[in-house]
C-alpha cells in the first residue's frame, strides 16, 4: 500500500466507519434498559471486535487513526455531541457521558505521568478528589467565579501533589509506588476524620454559574426541554478537547521525546544531558493539574463530594483504564474509559463487583496482552513516515 500524506479518502474511511459504528453501538447501548438485552449487546460488541481483529479489519482502522488523526478527532467530537443530542433530555445518560468525558481527562493526566515520563501515581482518585473538594469549599464559602474555580482546582491538585515531589523524585519503581499508595490511603482517612471538610458525609457542591448562566437550570429552546446536564456536557467536552490537544502536542514535541527517553532509561537520559528532575516534576504536576481540573468539574456535576468516592480502589480503577487502553495512547484511554465507566452503570448486576472485575481484567491483560487493547503506536517523526 502506498503511504503518503495525501492518500486522503482511502485512509480516512476505515477510521470514520469505526467511529460511526462505535457511536451507533453506544447510543443503542445507552438507550436499552432491559438487562438481558444489554448483556446480549455487550456480547455482540465483544464478538464483533474479536471477529474484526481476526479478519484483519482493525489494522486499517489503526492506520487511518495515525494518518488522519485531526479529521478523525473532529469526527469523534461530532459523534460525542451526537450522543449528547440524542439524549438531550435524559439526565442519567448525560450524567454518565459527562463522567466518561471527565474520567478521560483525568486518565489523560495520568498517562502523562505513567505513559510518558514513567512517574508512578497510584493516587489518581485522590487528586481528582482534591479538585472536587476545592470546588465544594470555594463554591460554598466564596464568590470566586466558577471558571476560575476550575483553574484553582487544578492548581490545588498540583500544589498538594508537589508535597509528594520530594519522595517521588528520590524514589524509583516500587518505592515510588508505595509513596503514592500511602498518600491515597492518607487522603481518604484524612477526609473521613476531618470535620471541617464534612467528615464521612462529605459536602454539597453548588452548581456552576458562568456570567449569570446557571448550569443547574434546565434549558428551553423553542419549546424543547433540554436537560441541565447538557451545560456540563458542553463544558466537559471543551475541557477534554483541550486536554487531548495538549497531551497530543506534548507527546509529539521535544518535551514528549525527553519524557520518553526518561521513561525508557533514566540513566542514559541523564547521561545525554536531560534534566531528569525537571521533566519528572513537569510531568507529575501537569498530570495532577489535569486530574484536578477534571475532578473540580466532576464535583460540580455530581453536586456533592464524599470520601468514599475517592478511595484507593478508585485510583486503581483509573490505572486500570490506562492499562486496558494501552499506556500512552490517548485514543486507547478514551475507549477504555467508555468501557470501564459505562458497562457497570448499565449492567446493574456487576455494579457491586466492579473493582473486583476490573482488577481481574487488568491481571488478564498483563498476563496475555501487556500492551493494552490499543497499543501506543511507534512515534512518527515525519508525516507519512513509517518505521
Amino acid at each position: 500500500m502506498a503511504i503518503s500524506g495525501n492518500d486522503g479518502g482511502r485512509s480516512l474511511l476505515p477510521g470514520a466507519a469505526a467511529v460511526v459504528l462505535v457511536t451507533v453501538f453506544l447510543i443503542i447501548l445507552l438507550r436499552v434498559e432491559n438487562q438481558k438485552a444489554i448483556i446480549a449487546l455487550l456480547a455482540l460488541g465483544i464478538g464483533a471486535v474479536i471477529a474484526a481483529n481476526r479478519l484483519g479489519l482493525l489494522k486499517p482502522v489503526a492506520h487511518s487513526f495515525s494518518e488522519r488523526e485531526d479529521a478523525l478527532g473532529l469526527l469523534a467530537i461530532v459523534a460525542t455531541f451526537a450522543v449528547g443530542a440524542v439524549f438531550h433530555e435524559d439526565h442519567f445518560v448525560l450524567l454518565l457521558v459527562c463522567t466518561v468525558v471527565l474520567y478521560t481527562v483525568a486518565t489523560l493526566g495520568l498517562s502523562i505521568q505513567f505513559g510518558y515520563a514513567g512517574v508512578l501515581n497510584f493516587a489518581g482518585a485522590s487528586f481528582f478528589g482534591i479538585g472536587a473538594y476545592t470546588a465544594a469549599v470555594l463554591s460554598q464559602h466564596t464568590a470566586v467565579p466558577h471558571l476560575l474555580v476550575l483553574l484553582i482546582g487544578g492548581l490545588m491538585a498540583a500544589l498538594i501533589g508537589s508535597l509528594l515531589l520530594l519522595p517521588v523524585l528520590r524514589t524509583r519503581g516500587h518505592y515510588a509506588a508505595v509513596v503514592t499508595i500511602a498518600f491515597a490511603l492518607l487522603f481518604k482517612t484524612f477526609l473521613e476524620v476531618n470535620d471541617v471538610l464534612g467528615g464521612p458525609q462529605g459536602l454539597q457542591v453548588r452548581g456552576m454559574t458562568i456570567l449569570g448562566w446557571s448550569f443547574n437550570d434546565n434549558i428551553e429552546i423553542g419549546g424543547v426541554e433540554l436537560s441541565f446536564y447538557l451545560n456540563y456536557f458542553v463544558m466537559s467536552m471543551m475541557i477534554v478537547v483541550l486536554a487531548f490537544v495538549v497531551v497530543r502536542r506534548l507527546e509529539r514535541s521535544w518535551i514528549g521525546l525527553n519524557l520518553d527517553a526518561l521513561r525508557l532509561d533514566e540513566t542514559a537520559a541523564g547521561c545525554f544531558g536531560l534534566n531528569i528532575v525537571r521533566w519528572k516534576i513537569t510531568a507529575f504536576l501537569l498530570g495532577n493539574s489535569l486530574i484536578g481540573v477534571a475532578g473540580t468539574l466532576h464535583g460540580m456535576v455530581v453536586g456533592f463530594v464524599q470520601p468514599n468516592n475517592y478511595t484507593f480502589a478508585d485510583s486503581l480503577v483509573l490505572v486500570s483504564i490506562l492499562l486496558l487502553g494501552g499506556i500512552g495512547n490517548p485514543w486507547g484511554v478514551a475507549v477504555a474509559t467508555v468501557i470501564v465507566v459505562i458497562v457497570p452503570e448499565k449492567l446493574q448486576v456487576i455494579q457491586e463487583y466492579r473493582f473486583f472485575l476490573y482488577a481481574a481484567l487488568v491481571m488478564m491483560v498483563l498476563l496475555f496482552r501487556p500492551e493494552g487493547l490499543l497499543p501506543r503506536p511507534v512515534r512518527r517523526y515525519f508525516p507519512g513516515w513509517r518505521p
Binding site: 519522595p167 484524612f190 476524620v193 490505572v319 473486583f356 482488577a359 501487556p370
Partner: protein, 306 residues
C-alpha cells in the same frame, strides 16, 4: 506520666511492632529471592485472618468447643491455606512475568491484592462489615501497679517472637534455609550448584504468606475484630517497615517493624489530636521516611547496577 501507662503503651507498641515485623519479613523474603515486591502481601494477610475465622465458625457448627483445639485448627487452616495461596500466586502470576518490565509485576500484584480484598468483601458472608473475632486465649490479667499485663497479649507476643526465632533457625541452620539464602544472593550460581530455583521460590512464597497469615491471626486475636481492609493497611505499613530496614535484610525488616510501631506509639502519645488522626499520621510517617531515606536506614545489599 506514670509508669503503668508507659508500660501499657510499650505493650501496645510491641504488639503492633510484632505484626509489622511479621509482614515486613515476608516482603523482605520475596524481595530476596526474586527481587520483586508483592503488593498483594497485605491482602493475603486479610484472607488468612478470614480463613481462620471461617474455620472457627466451621468448628463451632460441628459442636467443638475446646479453645485450644479450635485455636490450633485455625492456625493450621490459616497458615496452610495461605502457604498454598502464596505458592500459587508465585507460580501463576509472578514467575511468568519475570522477563516483563518490573512495572508489570508491580501492577499485577497490586491488582491481585484488589481481587483478594474485594473477594473477601463480596463473597464472605456480610464481608463488607467488620466481623467479630473470637477471644480464644485466656483473658486473665496480672496487675503490676497500674499496669495490667493481659495474659493473651503476653502469649501473642511470645508466639510472635518464637515464630521469628524459628524463621531465623530455618534460614540459618537448615539446608532449605541455605538454599533460600543462596538463591537470594545469586540466582545463577545457586542454579549451577544444583538448587531447584522454582521450588525454592515457591517455598519462600509459601513461608512468607504463612507468616502473613500468622500476623492476620494475631491481629484478629488482639483486636477481636477483623475487616477486609486490615491487609491493605498492614501491607503498606509492613512494606514501609521493610524498606526502612533495608529490603532483603531479615533483621532490618524486624527492626523496621518495631521502629515504625515505636514512632506510631510515640506519635499517639505526643500529639493530642492523634487519636482521630492515628492512621493519617502513620501514612504521613511512611511518606516522610521515604523522602528522607528512599532506600531505608540500612541500604540494600547491592546498589543498583547500571
Amino acid at each position: 506520666m506514670d509508669l503503668g501507662l508507659v508500660a501499657q503503651y510499650t505493650m501496645n507498641g510491641l504488639m503492633l511492632g510484632m505484626m509489622y515485623a511479621l509482614v515486613a519479613v515476608g516482603f523482605t523474603l520475596f524481595f530476596g529471592v526474586l527481587d520483586v515486591i508483592k503488593f498483594s502481601h497485605g491482602d493475603v494477610l486479610t484472607v488468612g485472618a478470614f480463613t481462620a475465622l471461617a474455620s472457627f465458625i466451621g468448628l463451632q457448627s460441628i459442636g467443638l468447643s475446646s479453645d485450644a483445639v479450635e485455636l490450633l485448627a485455625m492456625l493450621v487452616a490459616a497458615l496452610g491455606a495461605m502457604a498454598l495461596l502464596g505458592a500459587f500466586i508465585a507460580r501463576a502470576f509472578i514467575l511468568p512475568l519475570r522477563s516483563a518490565p518490573a512495572l508489570n509485576t508491580l501492577l499485577i500484584t497490586l491488582m491481585l491484592g484488589t481481587v483478594l480484598r474485594e473477594a473477601v468483601r463480596l463473597f464472605y458472608p456480610d464481608g463488607a462489615n467488620p466481623k467479630p473475632f473470637p477471644r480464644l486465649l485466656p483473658a486473665d490479667s496480672i496487675n503490676i501497679g497500674n499496669f495490667n499485663l493481659r495474659l493473651d497479649n503476653a502469649i501473642l507476643l511470645t508466639a510472635g517472637a518464637l515464630v521469628i526465632v524459628g524463621l531465623q533457625l530455618l534460614l540459618n541452620r537448615t539446608k532449605l534455609g541455605l538454599a533460600i539464602r543462596a538463591v537470594a544472593q545469586d540466582e545463577e550460581t545457586a542454579k549451577t550448584m544444583g538448587v531447584n530455583f522454582n521450588a525454592i521460590v515457591l517455598i519462600t512464597f509459601a513461608i512468607g504468606s504463612a507468616l502473613a497469615a500468622f500476623a492476620g491471626l494475631m491481629n484478629g486475636l488482639y483486636y477481636n475484630e477483623i475487616n477486609f481492609g486490615i491487609g491493605l493497611y498492614l501491607g503498606v505499613v509492613g512494606f514501609s517497615a521493610a524498606i526502612i530496614g533495608g529490603l532483603g535484610s531479615i533483621y532490618g525488616a524486624i527492626l523496621g517493624g518495631f521502629l515504625f510501631a515505636g514512632l506510631q506509639t510515640i506519635g499517639a502519645v505526643a500529639l493530642p489530636f492523634a487519636s482521630a488522626y492515628k492512621d493519617v499520621f502513620a501514612f504521613a510517617v511512611v511518606i516522610a521516611l521515604m523522602a528522607w531515606r528512599p532506600t531505608g536506614l540500612i541500604p540494600e545489599k547491592l546498589s543498583e547496577r547500571v
